[in-house]
């Protein structure tokens, strides 16, 4: 077919590496590197909790109620004589699981709803958008308290609570992104060659709205950890005797002037993890979704 060769320029740009994005997230940001390290450390602690923890987090003892810090119990003991450090180490499991599970589930549900609303429009859009607007009118914590109060505590209830609290945000972002991606010529060109609607959604819409969703997920991991701690502090989250940073602080309040260490320790842990996830999320956003960065 040389007759048809009208001399296309053989200009080809270099292929960028797959790991370039990861590199960009850390490049020139020492705070992000520290944040990632902190996150990694806490994840390790959560996984290795049974190995690291010096005591059983649930073992009570009348002989050492409300002890201050000592070489045996670095952060002292609580009103049931349980080792606070061990409870904190086991509590990190709680925080990490909710921190990762809730935004992931919320992203799946919220993105599905948002894409349906954005792509199909019409009555589906109206119903979904109105419900989402309604839910967005409540602050997440208030919404979480409302649902938790109705459902009660317990692991799966907290998962549901946090997921419902986060779904509206994902749905709104996914809908807005879908509306704009839907207008892209490559979507129209897929329709023009006869691609079926589900394929268009999964192949041409979802991958192109993924960046802001991922950004939202990393940013809301911090919120999920904070919310779970808040709920547990209020007594409607993780239920005693299971340890959670939130209910460690709550228990610590009873003996605030005897030993402030449970509160200081758990408070510091929450602060560190939330701050780290926020910093990391900001960095991810700057790289994946530079436009939304004010």
């Amino acid at each position: 077919m040389t007759a048809l060769d009208h001399g296309a320029q053989q200009v080809v740009a270099p292929e960028p590496g797959k790991f370039e994005i990861v590199g960009k997230i850390f490049a020139g940001r020492p705070a992000t590197v520290v944040a990632a390290f902190v996150i990694f450390a806490f994840i390790l602690i959560a996984i290795l909790a049974p190995v690291i923890a010096p005591y059983d987090a649930l073992a009570q003892s009348f002989l050492r109620i409300n002890h201050g810090p000592s070489w045996q119990h670095w952060l002292g003991t609580d009103q049931f004589g349980r080792d606070v450090l061990s409870r904190m180490i086991y509590g990190s499991r709680n925080s990490m699981i909710f921190g990762l599970l809730a935004p992931t589930l919320a992203a799946i549900v919220g993105t599905t709803l948002g894409v349906i609303a954005g792509y199909f429009g019409g009555i589906a859009d109206r119903v979904i958008s109105r419900v989402v607007d309604m839910l967005l009118a409540f602050p997440e914590l208030l919404l979480a308290i409302l649902i938790a109060a109705a459902l009660g505590g317990g692991f799966w209830n907290i998962v549901v609570v946090l997921t419902v609290a986060f779904v509206p945000g994902f749905a709104r972002v996914a809908r807005a992104q879908t509306l704009s991606v839907k207008q892209e010529p490559y979507v129209e060109s897929a329709i023009a060659v006869g691609v079926r609607t589900p394929t268009i959604i999964f192949r041409h819409i979802v991958p192109n709205i993924a960046a802001p969703i991922v950004v939202l997920m990393t940013l809301w991991t911090a919120s999920a950890i904070r919310l779970e701690a808040s709920l547990s502090f209020l007594g409607i989250g993780t239920q005693a005797p299971n340890p959670s940073w939130g209910n460690i602080i709550r228990d610590g309040l009873n003996n605030l002037f005897g030993s402030p260490w449970p509160i200081i320790g758990a408070g510091l842990a929450i602060t560190c993890v939330v701050l780290s996830f926020n910093l990391f999320g900001d960095a991810v956003r700057d790289v994946l979704d530079p436009e939304t960065n004010q």
Partner: protein, 349 residues
């Protein structure tokens, strides 16, 4: 005429601005208004007009990329607009589209192979992946690209190369009809000619029909068999290329042609400069929609809309005075001038 491939009858599209929750209605935009024309087998029909005249919308209506408000599109004895979504999807094997924007029309995250093989996959052409790769390699070769580009991504290519990829995708299923929506208007002038020639060669090779949407009259002159001129959503003149270019009947066509730059600097030429702007398609003037800018406007033009009538030789014009002033090449400039003067003296504007 039994070699008609696809024909539009009274095709129209009104975009209604979104009505609010309380049923407030915005102003409707009449993008395409009662358009009828045929495209024959192996023929290239060029659709020209100013931006905003509805030519892209018309191209999309034919292939149902936009749903028409009214009218019919006949293809193979069926009205495309009456088919179910699934039936229409099956028809897309024969009816393809080349997009204006070579940057936006290729999905940025997919490889060239994935982009070109998508239609093959949809219509199960090529059972295995390796068969499809073979076919894609063949298609890339046909559009003048190296098959070794297959696993690269669109961002690694120039505009002209991307448009070649878009063309390869359009011809992948051996369609009978391709709508090309200003396929070269966003390209470099030097690349435009290559792409136009490529499309012409491919058409000769494969024998598909072409609806070529453009605003560049020199490109149209090169590629078209017949030319249709659109103004404010309506076809005002349609006919064989030679007739439309040499003896334009509609004053709008005459003005358009007079604006084409002449390569010969010594050639004497009077430009017909139209007064005013194109009226908004949300507020189309009554009667002949061109009457607000027409140099030979009469009272009847403001009142009655002229039908698209055959002048006898296959050229159709929608003008009340089409018969009165057919122009030959030489008369073109002079007549235009005298007419402009006449308009000035009678104060018809």
């Amino acid at each position: 005429m039994n070699d008609v491939l696809i024909s539009a009858r009274n095709l129209g599209k009104t975009f209604s601005s979104a009505s609010g929750l309380l049923g407030r209605k915005g102003r409707d935009v009449r993008a395409v208004d009662g358009v009828s024309f045929d495209v024959h087998r192996r023929e290239t029909v060029a659709l020209v007009g100013e931006s905003g005249c509805g030519k892209s919308t018309l191209g999309r209506l034919l292939l149902r990329l936009i749903e028409a408000s009214e009218g019919e599109v006949h293809y193979m004895g069926k009205d495309l607009l009456k088919l179910s979504r699934e039936q229409m999807r099956a028809m897309r094997k024969d009816l393809q589209f080349v997009f204006q924007d070579p940057y936006g029309s290729l999905s940025p995250r997919r490889t060239i192979f994935e982009i070109i093989s998508e239609p093959l996959e949809v219509f199960s052409v090529g059972k295995t992946r390796s068969q499809r790769r073979e076919r894609v390699a063949q298609l890339l070769d046909q559009v003048g690209l190296s098959p070794s580009f297959m696993d690269r991504q669109p961002r690694q290519f120039s505009g002209g190369q991307r448009q070649r990829i878009g063309i390869a995708r359009a011809i992948a299923l051996d369609p009978t009809f391709i709508v090309a929506d200003e396929p070269v208007s966003s390209l470099d002038v030097s690349v435009q000619a290559q792409i136009v020639n490529l499309m012409q060669d491919l058409q000769e090779d494969k024998g598909f029909s072409f609806l070529f949407i453009a605003h560049d009259l020199s490109v149209v002159r090169h590629i078209a068999d017949r030319v249709a001129v659109m103004y404010l959503g309506r076809i005002v003149e349609i006919g064989p290329k030679a007739m439309v270019y040499d003896t334009p009947h509609h004053p709008y066509t005459q003005a358009l042609l007079s604006a084409v730059p002449e390569p010969d600097p010594d050639a004497k030429k009077t430009q017909i400069i139209l007064e005013g702007d194109v009226p908004s398609p949300a507020n189309v003037p009554p009667g002949c929609s061109f009457h607000t800018r027409c140099p030979i406007v009469q009272a009847v033009c403001r009142r009655d809309r002229p039908p698209l009538l055959d002048t006898g030789k296959g050229q159709m014009v929608a003008c009340h005075f089409a018969e009165a002033h057919p122009l030959t090449k030489g008369e073109h400039a002079d007549l235009a001038k005298t007419r402009l003067q006449a308009v000035g003296s009678t104060g018809a504007l």
